[in-house]
Structures are given as structure tokens and as C-alpha cells.
């Protein structure tokens, strides 16, 4: 198990957003997380990635207890996330956003003065990798535009590109293809499928059909709890799931 989440509790004032959620994710799988609006999916991702501190429960990543770690520490371990509402660096170019996501570049202050040649060399290699990813996502021609000038869908793609760029061990994707045209959305999931060899994915997605095609396993959330789980086939026939999510 690459990720083990046990009994997570989180409330906002009186509102209980997570009420003992637990799930497990196996290495090199694509796992779907579905549930109605407000069921706590994003909150769960926020807790896993360290942006929210849970009131109870534990999170283990690769066997290590990371409960209470800070976001940057968790990301450094190779557990990365994207945001439901796209967040990128508007006054940086698309290419710079990608370069920023690279986890192998030396971004220390000292390197600025000491090893500029090495930085430039590494940067060239990164830029090449970035260009390939951007081309795949069909935004290769926008490399030198400000990220803030991209359309909503393109920004979503850039976020995905940054995720691929950082080559994490595990990725949490919060509605990665919302607002992306269906054929490209399919291509993206095919890419994710290919990446499965190297990484593990936990994907929040409302488009159940897409998940059914690509996921190995699906968890269903409702009111801060995992109410069902299983393979796509099992989920499709599950009574509770049909009740809470598929609209019965």
C-alpha cells in the first residue's frame, strides 16, 4: 500500500466535513474517488496533502506516518496534488510554470552565484522535457505566454503538465479534466494509464463513465465517510452507490 488513510476527522465550525474517512491505495494503480458535491472529497485531498490538519486519524505514505507534515514536506516525499480550482503562477510564462515544477533543478540561493553553468544545462534539459509534455497536452505553442492569459481549460492542462513534470510517486488529482473537451480528456486519461507504470493516482472525478474505463478501484464518499468501494464493475451494481451518487 502506498497510501493508507485511517479514521480522518475534520470539521469546520459545526460542519463535519470528514467523519472518519478511511481508504487504502495500492502501488501503481489508478483509484477513483467519487461522491456528491460537498461530500468531502476535496477536504480529504487537502488533509492528505497537508493543507489541512485533521482532528483525528492518520495518514501513512509508503509506510511513513505523515500526519501533521507541512505541505512542502509531503510534496518532497513525492506525494503531489493538483487543485480543483486551478492554481498556477499567472505572471510566469507557461514554460516557467513547468520549469518550476521540476523537482530536480537546484533552486538554492547559493547556486545562483556558484554553479550557473550547471543550472543552465539542467534547465535546458528540463525545458526539453517540458516542451514534450506541453506538446502532448496540445498547448506547446503557448510556452512563452503568461500562464494568466490561458483559457480555463488550458490552465487545467498546464496544471496537469506541471504534475507530470514533477514526476511524483503518487498524485492526487482533483477533477483534472473538468472543462476539458471530451476527446482530449480521454487522451489525458490514456496518458495517465501509461504513467501508471511509474506512479499511483488518486483521482476525484464527477464523470463516472471516464472513471469506469480507467480506474482499477473506486471509493465512494458521502457526508465525510467512505460508503462503498470496489472495482468499477462492483461499484456500478452497488445499491448504496446508486442511491447516493448515481442518482438511483
Amino acid at each position: 500500500m502506498i497510501l493508507e488513510i485511517d479514521g480522518i476527522k475534520k470539521s469546520f465550525g459545526g460542519l463535519v466535513a470528514l467523519d472518519g474517512a478511511l481508504l487504502e491505495v495500492r502501488n501503481n494503480t489508478i483509484v477513483g474517488l467519487i461522491g456528491p458535491n460537498g461530500s468531502g472529497k476535496t477536504t480529504l485531498l487537502n488533509v492528505i496533502s497537508g493543507f489541512l490538519v485533521p482532528e483525528g486519524g492518520s495518514i501513512r505514505f509508503n509506510g511513513m506516518d505523515i500526519t501533521g507534515f507541512r505541505p512542502f514536506e509531503i510534496a518532497r516525499l513525492g506525494l503531489c496534488r493538483t487543485f480543483q480550482l486551478t492554481r498556477l503562477f499567472r505572471r510566469l510564462t507557461v514554460l516557467e510554470n513547468m520549469l518550476l515544477a521540476s523537482r530536480t533543478q537546484d533552486d538554492s540561493l547559493g547556486s545562483v552565484f556558484i554553479s550557473r553553468k550547471k543550472l543552465a544545462l539542467h534547465e535546458k534539459a528540463d525545458a526539453k522535457r517540458a516542451a514534450d509534455i506541453l506538446d502532448f497536452l496540445e498547448i506547446g505553442h503557448l510556452g512563452n505566454e503568461y500562464a494568466g492569459s490561458l483559457s480555463g481549460g488550458q490552465q487545467k492542462l498546464l496544471n496537469l503538465g506541471m504534475m507530470l513534470m514533477s514526476e511524483p510517486g503518487m498524485v492526487l488529482l482533483d477533477e483534472p479534466v473538468a472543462g476539458v473537451n471530451p476527446s482530449l480528456a480521454n487522451r489525458i486519461f490514456e496518458k495517465i494509464l501509461k504513467e501508471k507504470e511509474h506512479r499511483t493516482f488518486l483521482v476525484v472525478e464527477h464523470n463516472v463513465d471516464v472513471l469506469m474505463n480507467f480506474c482499477d478501484y473506486i471509493f465512494v464518499m458521502n457526508r465525510g465517510r467512505i460508503v462503498a468501494s470496489g472495482t468499477p464493475d462492483e461499484i456500478q451494481c452497488d445499491e448504496t452507490v446508486i442511491e447516493v451518487y448515481l442518482g438511483g
Partner: protein, 298 residues
Amino acid sequence: MLLDYALDALIYTGIYAILTISLNLEAGCTGLMNFGKVAFFATGAYTTALLTTSGVPVIFSAIAGVLLSAVFGLLVALPTLRLRADYLAIVTIAFGEILRMFLHNEDWLTGGPIGIRGIPQPLYQYFDGSYLLFYLFIVFITLVACYFIAELVINSPFGRVLRAIRDDEDAVAALGKNTFLFKTQAFVIGACIASIAGTLFAHYLSFISPDMFLPTLTFSIWTIMVIGGRGNNLGVITGSVLITVFERGSRFIKDYIEMPFGLEPYNVRIIVIGLLLILFIIYRPDGMLRERKSRSPL
């Protein structure tokens, strides 16, 4: 006489430009609201004044000023940079005022309200008669050095993280970067550069007193940055030229022209700069020179 006025204006321009480059690194590029810039300027000025009047060579006193500024920068940064942006603004204003009060009240060390006189002018004996020109040269060299260092920092992977923090700090953390560390380093570099400007200032005037380090100086530097173009070092240098030449020029010109309605020229100057600032914020918020798109890869 006229030449002296011009040289004086240019020396001030250079010193303000160095200060603004340091503010630009913190506020323009990283988004750190430092409203206490004057404190680090004063640290450089007082450190060199105290040390050189007791016989320490300028080069060492300048370094001592930079180190002390770095320590002050750390002291301000460590407790506040973990908090939301607005706390930094409050703490830096407070720090500037506390330091000024200290300089004002601790006579035994700082000479109190009278300040420190007789700060040596380095190499004066060799440039008797053309000292202003020589000093302008020193200021210019320092400015060029600060400019290149700042550019080097901003246009590096390190600087890219700073510019990303300005846009969305949490998203930078999500990429595995310790944003607190980056902000602290930016703040400390800013403090060090400001201290160098203070050193130049003290030796130029050869006397300093606490009332030269009022919060209004910080706001002048902010004005220069906003008008010049935040994020653009050439822009903030241009801004320094514009504002300082206007500021100094109006000082000079007031002896020759009659103000209508008996207006006090000093007040008119502040009103004009204020109006200019407002017009820029409304009609050209990027300033005279827009931040350039960074060429990447390096």
C-alpha cells in the same frame, strides 16, 4: 554651483535607486510588503558612522552594517513570514519606528537627536575639489553591482520561486518548496542591499541624525518602485531618476520662482508626487517600465 547641484541630485538618485532595487526584490518580485525599508537603511548608516568615527576602515564598517542588517532582517522575518502578508507590513513599520526611537533616545551610543557628525569621507584628500564627482563614481559602481546581483537572483531558478510565491504561495508549497525559507532569504538580501545604500548615504553627508530616517523615506522608495515599474530593475532606476531629480530640482528652483498664493514649495512637491502616484496606480499600475517576460530556459 549648478554642476554641484546636478552631481548632488545624481548621488541621491543612485542611493535611492539602490534602496529601491532592494525593495523591488522583496516587494516587487516576492510580494513581501516591507514598509520598514528605512530601518535597514538606517542600520547601514549608523553602523558605518559609529565604526568609522572610531577609526575602523570604511570597507569593514560597510561589511559590519550589512551583517547587522542581515541579523535585523532575520529577527523581523522569522516570527512574521510564517504569518499572512499583512502582518509583515505592520511589523516592519513598527520595527522602523522602534529603531528610530532607539537612535533618538540612546544618546550614549548614537548621539541622540543631534546624531553623529564628522563621519569621514573616504579618500577625500586625493579628490579635493572634485570629490562629488568621485563620490558619484563610487555610488554608480555600487549601483551597477547591486543591479547585476539583483538581476542574477531574479532570473535564476531561485528567483523564479520568489516570483511564483508572489502569485500563489500555497501552490508553491504544493510543489515541494519551503516557501518560508525562500521568503526569509529574499528579505535578508533586501536588508543587506538597503544597508549598503545607508553606508553610502552616511559618508556622503558626513553627518546623520534620526530625523533623516522617518517613515516617509520608506514611502518615497515605494513611490519610486510603483512609478518606475515593480519587478523591473531598470524601471525602478528610471523611477529613481525621475523622482529624485524632481525632488532635488524643486529644492533648487524654489529660490528662483515665485509660488502662486504663497504656497510652500515643499508642500507643493509632496502634492505633485502624491498626484503622480495616484495617476500611475489608476492609469498605469505596471509603472513606467513593465516587468519583462523572463527568458527561459536561462
